[in-house]
Symmetry: C2
Subunit: 392 residues, 2 copies
């Protein structure tokens, strides 16, 4: 057998999404790219903000020694700048450079955190529906996923999370704004979770970390206010990526910041430096570390908002049940018919969406609306037709 | 305990090098950077070649959509260009783009390969002295390191490698030109290994992969000819990084190419695509993928050669026993006295070198001469004094 047994199995379980992607490429070849509404991928068509190109052009000319290895945690002045921004913007009180690690995107950051804290056989809680690769990340380091269902409105059901905790629970991953639902957890909801975990520590001495995965935090609508749970709970890791806010997912740049009150924070940071190296990341790409400092974050959510509003209206008018989308560029809706039938019918109409089972939540589907307006219009027509056909 | 037990242990075992680095920083603060000869790190002071800055400046202006996600294996035309170069330069016969994965440097590439092929409990053979992080890479994926001593001239002892193979052996890592010895394995030596593994397959049906780690292959001296074992053995992965050849280790860019005759090569490439994603690399940094195509590889080894010659002369004159350095920017020499005493005495003289035990080979030490000429001269004086003191 050429592949390891784990990867053989992972490839099989991932085959549903993979087949969909391959199917998409095939359908576009047959029917023309303009006629296929591919809403399957969270790959923004938006270009990086004004100033990005100029910043890269400027920085590449400046100073020698800028492409060498730097400390595994990143350039000291970049970490300093990130710490200052997070402090200025109120995410943390008095965060220092020594509490920030630059990393190659959020997926790298989460893997480094898990490798640092997780012992084989321990489990990590996620709330369904969840980003499908969390399962692989946890299993990479010998852990097990511990899945909890959400409240009816797709907020956190803290009672259920409390019930799911056992003595092998090491961390909870919180993803807000949420992929795939678009839900932004409220401050009250997050505080309830933070308090429950703090009580757990106080009463039973069990340290459970929170890993707050926040790549979409600037992509929120209708004046929704974003709260980071990393600010509410001492033993928290904030994991951030510039992939969505700067539309540069191919460049792999982000950071992990720990809550300044984290117990043994300096040992944890030392562990993360080692893990960033031995997992093979070594350091976040050097040029992009410098770029994010000079560019700053400037997301224009206007375009996303217009697309969300358009789709929301069509889903409403067509009688779909869907989650009220407060952030991200995803919509999560319920399938008419069973999931298999619905996704198949959509594909026949050249509409590509991801089945809920890929997020651990069957019979729903995810729409990614980070696509161009033509694709949105095409999708609206097809979503309407699908609803009519199901009712007819 | 905040850290996982594995990382707690890794930090302890890595502490010798780490302490040395920290000691280096401390010594430079006390005595001034000009007075400390720090030869501990393989971080080239050479700048990227002419054309690098211009290429980045040009590419950043061109085309939209260039910072988005691309397929996990890399931009198709970049993989095509790498395949063509490797074919044109005679590394492989008829290599195709579908047999190349772009990755975030060699450390990423090796981790992706190991995750793809390794089952927990299997072992990977390395030949001492070896790059210390191979151990972590193998253990990341549940494997065990299987260490073999080299021949007296630090070439491969194929008989010993054959004896070390058991039914759990899954791969052999070959690093030529070698870090830390600077040895370039001869074609005959590599053919002997390839033949032995092919016989093993033929007689016992056991597939053992070769992972050929080649970041230093352009850095060779005295007309030494480099042979890639990946060209001599079907079940081979060639892992390459532009860190050394373009002096851009901070940017994290490289590739893995499989021998076109690899069994089940297409399943392996499919597995690598999944592993690149789930390990958290996702893809090699987008901009640098494009840069390496346009810049090409242009290493000027003149400066390294001059430094090597200077150090070699001093080591010879001072009576050190050392390995004939044919490539890389490392020299591997034997300690006068035991390792602990020698490294300590060197440190007292403000000379920083890495102990051989960090490469699984005690009582020797590694010099990294990718430093400036002032540091080389300083080091020469100190190496002479150390030899005199030991004899005196």
């Amino acid at each position: 057998m050429p592949l390891s047994r784990r990867i053989e199995r992972d490839i099989k379980s991932a085959s549903k999404i993979r087949k969909l992607f391959e199917e998409g490429i095939r359908l576009k070849e047959i029917h023309g790219e303009m006629n296929v509404a591919d809403l399957s991928l969270g790959n923004p068509v938006v270009e990086p903000p004004d100033g990005f190109v100029e910043t890269v052009s400027d920085l590449i000319q400046q100073r020698t020694g800028m492409h060498r290895y730097m400390p595994n945690l990143g350039f000291p002045w970049v970490r300093e700048a990130v710490a200052k921004t997070l402090t200025d913007e109120g995410y943390f009180k008095g965060l220092g450079a020594h509490q920030v690690m630059m990393c190659a995107g959020a997926s790298a950051g989460i893997n480094v955190v898990l490798k640092t804290i997780l012992n084989p056989g321990e489990n990590v809680i996620v709330v369904a529906p969840y980003f499908v690769e969390y399962k692989s990340y946890v299993e990479n380091h010998g852990g097990e996923l511990n899945t909890v269902t959400p409240a009816e409105d797709f907020s956190l059901d803290v009672k259920k999370i409390a019930e799911a905790i056992d003595h092998k629970t090491r961390a909870v991953i919180i993803n807000s704004p949420n992929n795939p639902t678009g839900v932004v957890y409220s401050k009250e909801n997050l505080t309830e979770l933070a308090d429950m975990l703090a009580r757990k520590k106080h009463e039973e001495g069990q340290t459970i970390y929170i890993i707050s995965d926040e790549p979409y935090r600037e992509i929120v609508y209708d004046g929704t206010s974003f709260t980071s749970i990393a600010n509410l709970y001492a033993n928290s890791f904030m994991v951030y990526s510039f992939s969505k806010s700067l539309s540069i997912p191919g460049e792999r740049i982000g950071y992990v910041a720990i809550n300044p009150e984290m117990e043994d924070g300096s040992a944890i940071m030392g562990g993360m430096a080692v893990c960033n190296r031995i997992l093979g990341f070594v350091n976040a790409p050097a040029l992009m570390q410098r770029v994010i400092v000079d560019v700053g974050v400037r997301v224009d959510v206007k375009d996303y908002q217009a697309r969300r509003d358009r789709l929301k209206k069509v889903l409403e008018e067509s009688g779909y049940e869907f989650v009220k989308p407060q952030g991200t560029f995803y919509l999560f809706a319920k399938c008419f018919d069973g999931e298999g039938t619905f996704i198949e019918k959509a594909k026949e109409k050249l509409l590509l969406v991801v089945p809920g089972s890929s997020f651990g939540y069957r019979d729903w589907f995810r729409i990614a609306y980070c696509v161009d307006d033509n694709t949105i219009e095409l999708a609206c027509t097809k979503l309407r037709e699908l609803a009519e056909a199901s009712r007819g």
